[in-house]
Amino acid sequence: MICDFLKTCCADPMKFIGDWFVLLPAIVLLLAGGAAVVMRNLIHAALCLTLSFIALGIVFIALGAEFVGFVQLLVYVGAVAMLIVFAILLTRPDQLTKSGSAFSGLGPAGGAAVGFVALVALLGFIFTSPLAKKPLPASASAPVADIGQALMGDYVVALLAIGVLLTAALVGAAVIAMEDKQP
């Protein structure tokens, strides 16, 4: 199997590079995601999450969806990760470096078990499904102009709804987090 792998690598180095261009960030993604789950230090967890976001964005770009990849980077790294970090700093200023009780009670084991069952089930279905064995099509690209046309054409209602949702979320978040006048 390893020989096959090496053979294909040598036969078509460009394809080899192209594949690893997807797989390498995907591996980083998994490692960072796993680290984010088990890290005791919240800040480290958040930074690992940020790294996994970046890796996910690169996966998207490598898969040809560069617009989505950039949006992923801009929104998740630029905004969501920063929000999480901010929230951590705002809520735990006193125990910044103290490792909190990461897991507690019997629930966590059950949670991990559920996660594991879900993983096994999903993998089972993925590897038995005929659909998943499809080979990679030659190429796929999503030009920005086409995405823009689609957003303003077929998906304009959804776009407007998202705009309303984001505005409402902005206002709502500001109102929720606003300082209470009466204690």
Partner: protein, 402 residues
């Protein structure tokens, strides 16, 4: 008509690649070599600019403050107006001891400068330095710029938090708050230009600003009312994004020692310093691309000058105004700064947005010009009056002996 120097860098690269190809080097190696050469050139040029800027800024500030500034470092007997100061600085920085606080988060503390430098260098990829001189002509280039630039915030936070120092954390949080706040007008101002050009690609945006009206007036976006407003908004937001005066309060030494940089020294500090300056040049480059016509010449007869000269000339001009602003304006207070972003820049950027749309749909003629002026002018008057009333200060009286 076209200056032979114009295409010199491209021709040089092609010649070198052809030379290698004639030796039978495989194609994929050629691609890699070409990429390495381009990346190395761009980084080299910007590092040179950084070195030049670091000394020129000190000299300009000194002149503004009626001093000489650095004027000693040179070769043996030749001082050369102190232009070799950066070399001395660099040597000092590299040889200095690299202190890491014992309670710091060692890994994150180490990673922060790296994470800081990478996006600052990566964003340089999409700037069109001259005609056909774009390292990576992405069709979502502007988006790439901001997406990659978002990494800077992570780096600042990492630096501030990992130092495990009160001032560092506060400075880092201030910096993030400031960056997030000013990112919005920055992005909206950029989107306006992209919207009018109909493309997110920087080279297309530069192309959209080509040509001359009535044979002499460049059609840069800065010369339209909405473009002027958007350019100013972008400029102000860029000042804040690159933590420059008057928005340099994340590292305001009077309050926070040096903000998130407090616990950094030696080479790591140098990297931060470099990343900030390169980031500043990058954002200046984007400003030039979006509003100042990119590599386009300002007057028809000046077309003979190579386009990349124009581009770097414009970058230097914008960088010079930034130094000028630093010499002129005092630092803002944090709440004023955030209020300014949310209550003035954001509404004004919306106004410029609407104004640009109206300008486009009214036919881009003189009438459209006036309409657009009205649409940005009225909100400006209202907001400006409100703010000047809100922050009205009485005339300060100075007490000093005659």
């Amino acid at each position: 008509m076209i200056n032979p120097l114009e295409r010199a860098p491209i021709e040089l690269l092609h010649w070198f690649l052809n030379l290698l190809g004639s030796f039978g080097v495989p194609q994929w190696i050629l691609t890699v070599v070409s990429a390495v050469i381009i990346i190395g050139t761009v980084i080299g040029v910007f590092l040179g600019l950084f070195a030049l800027m670091s000394v020129m800024e000190r000299k300009i500030l000194a002149r503004a403050q009626n001093r000489y500034g650095p004027n000693r470092v040179g070769f043996f007997r030749w001082r050369l107006c102190g232009l070799f100061q950066p070399v001395a600085d660099g040597i000092k920085m590299i040889t200095k001891e690299d202190l890491v606080p014992r309670t710091a988060d060692q890994v994150v503390h180490f990673l922060a400068p790296v994470v800081m430098l990478i996006p600052a260098l990566m964003v340089l990829a999409i700037l069109p330095y001259g005609r056909d001189m774009v390292p990576a002509d992405l069709n979502a280039g502007i988006l790439y710029f901001f997406a990659v630039g978002a990494g800077t915030e992570v780096a600042v936070f990492m630096a501030g938090w990992a130092s495990n120092n009160k001032y560092s954390v506060l400075g880092g949080m201030r910096a993030i708050a400031q960056m997030i706040s000013y990112e919005i007008p920055l992005v909206i101002a950029a989107i306006i230009a992209a919207m009018v050009s109909g493309s997110l690609s920087p080279s297309a945006i530069v192309a959209a600003q080509g040509g001359f009206a009535w044979g002499f007036l460049p059609q840069w976006f800065v010369l339209t009312p909405w473009g002027f407003v958007a350019c100013l908004l972008f400029y102000i937001a860029a000042l804040a994004e690159s933590n420059r005066s008057p928005f340099d309060l994340p590292e305001g030494e009077s309050e926070l020692v040096a903000g998130h940089l407090t616990e950094y020294s030696g080479f790591k500090y140098a990297i931060f310093f470099m990343a900030e300056y390169v980031g500043m040049f990058a954002v200046c480059g984007l400003l030039v691309t979006l509003f100042l016509g990119g590599w386009q010449a300002p007057l028809p007869f000046l077309v003979v000058v190579p386009t990349w000269c124009w581009f770097f000339g414009k970058i230097c001009f914008v960088a010079f105004t930034m130094v000028w602003v630093r010499a002129t304006l005092p630092r803002l207070r944090i709440d004023h700064m955030l209020a300014f972003a949310w209550k003035f820049l954001l509404p004004m950027s919306f106004a410029a947005f609407i104004s640009a749309a109206c300008w486009h749909y009214a036919g881009r003629g003189p009438l459209a010009w006036l309409l657009s002026l009205a649409i940005v002018g009225v909100p400006y008057l209202i907001l400006g009056t409100a703010f000047s009333n809100r922050f009205a200060v009485s005339r300060r009286t100075y007490q000093f002996s005659e």
